[in-house]
Symmetry: C2
Subunit: 184 residues, 2 copies
């Protein structure tokens, strides 16, 4: 495999934790570096510790979406003392009056649906909310979460992600930029 | 609403954290108390702290399944220093040679499928593995995770859950028993 840059773009270091990222083949176009927080409590904790100082002053709640950012957001909540809520990608039988938010998918005509349980949405009402993700790429998921926040009666107070991977115009805070594509 | 016992069975206390559980209506049969670790880093951390001493001696790895037990298992991993792996309920595009495990569903003829990514399965090989869940009820999910462990070349070293909710014959360690049904 050849790489598009001289340095090794598939290695990341967060705090004292260094990981070689797995490269996921995408068609014949190349590879995408994969961040795995799930199953890696060391990397997750290091990223959360590095992200805490980037939480905007005045933040009152965090909002994320299943699944990859879930341990990270839990850890951020634990370290910062801020409560967090989680949007789901499937309706759960126990949900009461959930907010339902469509988001545009990667494939034309296919969209994904987010579900925020009613009692959880209530906890965002009147609050300054920061959207949290493991990786923000195009920003379409972040914007769907922002819309959920507003519909719940909250105010979007910022966007926080461990990594930025690709182009978007969101005023986001992040630790590092990752290459979106690695040519094979 | 009337309750089946004099005490309030919908309140739990773990360490210094007390929560009123939401009661989820189930048909006309009554209610099921719902444990929500997702979105509650305080309860999650308290449960993990209480569970660490229950991890059997000699344990080398933890295995759980998305989604509810994910923050709990991350926290257990962080507190104990043990690595953890996570089975998914959908195939992810990045998976390489995943182990695929069917589990019997709640409805006759409907089964759920678990996916354990190949590189993650390798990390269980030769290891003494403890199955972790937020709640163990019938034990069918725990048994599917045990089967995944064995197929990955690991040995099941125990079953750990924050709560037991219902009858099963697993040799499980848990913090508290929850009522399975609350009559309306």
């Amino acid at each position: 495999m050849t790489t598009s840059t001289g340095a090794n773009p598939y290695q990341i270091t967060v705090g004292s934790v260094t990981r070689q990222l797995r490269l996921v083949p995408v068609g014949q176009m190349g590879f995408v570096p994969l961040i795995e927080f799930i199953g890696d409590s060391e990397l997750t904790k290091a990223a959360a510790q590095a992200l805490v100082p980037l939480i905007p002053e005045g933040t009152e709640a965090l909002l994320t979406v299943v699944t990859n950012a879930l341990p990270l957001t839990h850890e951020l909540s634990d370290l910062s003392g801020l409560p967090y809520q989680v949007a789901r990608k499937k309706r759960r039988t126990y949900m009461q009056n959930p907010l339902i938010q469509e988001m545009p998918g990667l494939t034309l005509g296919v969209s994904e649906t987010l579900w925020l349980d009613g009692p959880h949405a209530e906890r965002l009402s009147g609050k300054k909310v920061v959207i949290v993700q493991d990786v923000i790429a195009t920003g379409s998921m972040a914007m769907a979460l922002a819309r959920l926040t507003e519909r719940a009666g909250g105010t979007v107070h910022g966007y926080l992600a461990a990594f930025k991977q690709g182009e978007n115009t969101l005023p986001m805070q992040y630790l590092q930029e990752l290459p979106k594509w690695v040519q094979s």
